[in-house]
């Protein structure tokens, strides 16, 4: 944000997600695509989740070596402490960091963007939100910056957020599940076992 750019990780996550959401539709091709197209990497025909994993491992490694500073509250500090206590392993640390970066960043940006867009498109709603902020401010119920707890007592703001998430969900891909053994009844129709829904 400071230098108004990134090191390519935003684009990398975009490409990896694009690859996965298309290959997921024909998952049998995934194995062959990875084996064959990897050779075409220099031509840009290949994308995988490996770069994201490398990125995560790089940052975990930097911290382990003491190169990057820690903070008592960040995930990595807590995860490494859990590793030391035993029970957790490097794999768990990786799972948590990767999930945060891959699933938490893009979705946050998309949701914020959508909420802002719809507020600009609907000036009356924007005004209502501003009125709520002003009222709470006058009542002395808001600090600067506004805390999470204070924002929970702002019903219009909460409604704006939820409506934004409803009309523009950040996840636009198929989240297919398999019908279990014995089939299932959905919307009054029987779906036989192992159908994807």
């Amino acid at each position: 944000m400071e230098r108004e750019g990134d090191d390519g990780i935003i684009d990398q996550i975009h490409r990896a997600t694009l690859y996965s959401s298309f290959l997921g539709i024909v998952p049998d091709l995934h194995y062959w695509y990875q084996k064959v197209f990897k050779k075409l990497l220099p031509y840009g025909f290949y994308s995988s989740q490996a770069e994201l994993l490398d990125f995560v491992n790089f940052h975990i490694g930097q911290r382990r070596k003491g190169i990057t500073p820690n903070d008592k509250n960040d995930f990595l500090t807590k995860l490494l402490a859990m590793e030391e206590e035993g029970g957790n392993t490097h794999a768990d640390t990786q799972v948590s960091c990767r999930s945060n970066i891959a699933a938490g960043s893009d979705t946050t940006a998309i949701s914020l963007g959508a909420i802002l867009y719809y507020l600009i498109q609907n000036p009356d709603k924007m005004q209502k939100l501003r009125d709520e902020i002003d009222q709470k401010c006058i009542a002395g119920e808001l600090s600067d910056p506004v805390t999470f707890k204070q924002s929970q007592n702002m019903p219009y703001l909460q409604a704006v957020i939820k409506e934004g998430l409803r009309i523009h969900p950040a996840i636009g891909i198929v989240l297919a599940r398999r019908v279990p053994q014995g089939g299932a009844v959905i919307s009054g129709k029987f779906l036989p076992e192992s159908v994807s829904s």
Binding site: L53, N70, D71, M82, L116, A184
Partner: protein, 131 residues
């Protein structure tokens, strides 16, 4: 499509698309036997696994259980300081853009904000300008 043919539309030889809020609980409800379809397998490299792509319920539950406490409300509140820091940087930036009369692509800018945010709470580094 679902509007003219009911809530269930067959979209492949063995695939259905469902448009019914009541189905959400049946399909995605906790402890329900609807396992992830092979769709998820493309979300990690061949031979690897991740929280999102893991299709085995027990393995997934184990992965989840070992990191779950970091996502509790108490822990979530401990990350608030990082958010405040990133938000302050964003405010400064937007004020500067405003004074300079410079247009800003909010889509891209919010991406940088979100990456800084997630980077800060995860590895204590604002990732959008890390390295």
């Amino acid at each position: 499509m679902a509007n003219c043919s009911g809530p269930i539309v067959r979209i492949g030889p063995n695939k259905c698309s469902i448009d019914d809020p009541a189905a959400v609980k049946i399909i995605y409800g906790l402890g329900k036997p609807f396992v992830k379809a092979s769709y998820y397998s493309a979300f990690t490299d061949v031979g690897k696994t991740s929280l999102f792509s893991e299709r085995d319920h027990n393995i997934h539950a184990g992965m989840r259980r070992r990191i779950a406490k970091l996502y509790s409300l108490t822990n979530l509140l401990s990350y608030e300081g990082f958010v405040d820091q990133c938000t302050a940087t964003m405010e400064d930036k937007l004020r500067k853009f405003c004074l300079e009369g410079r247009p800003v692509d909010m889509g891209a800018f919010l991406q940088y904000y979100a990456f800084d945010l997630i980077g800060s709470i995860t590895v204590n580094l604002a990732l959008a300008f890390a390295i």
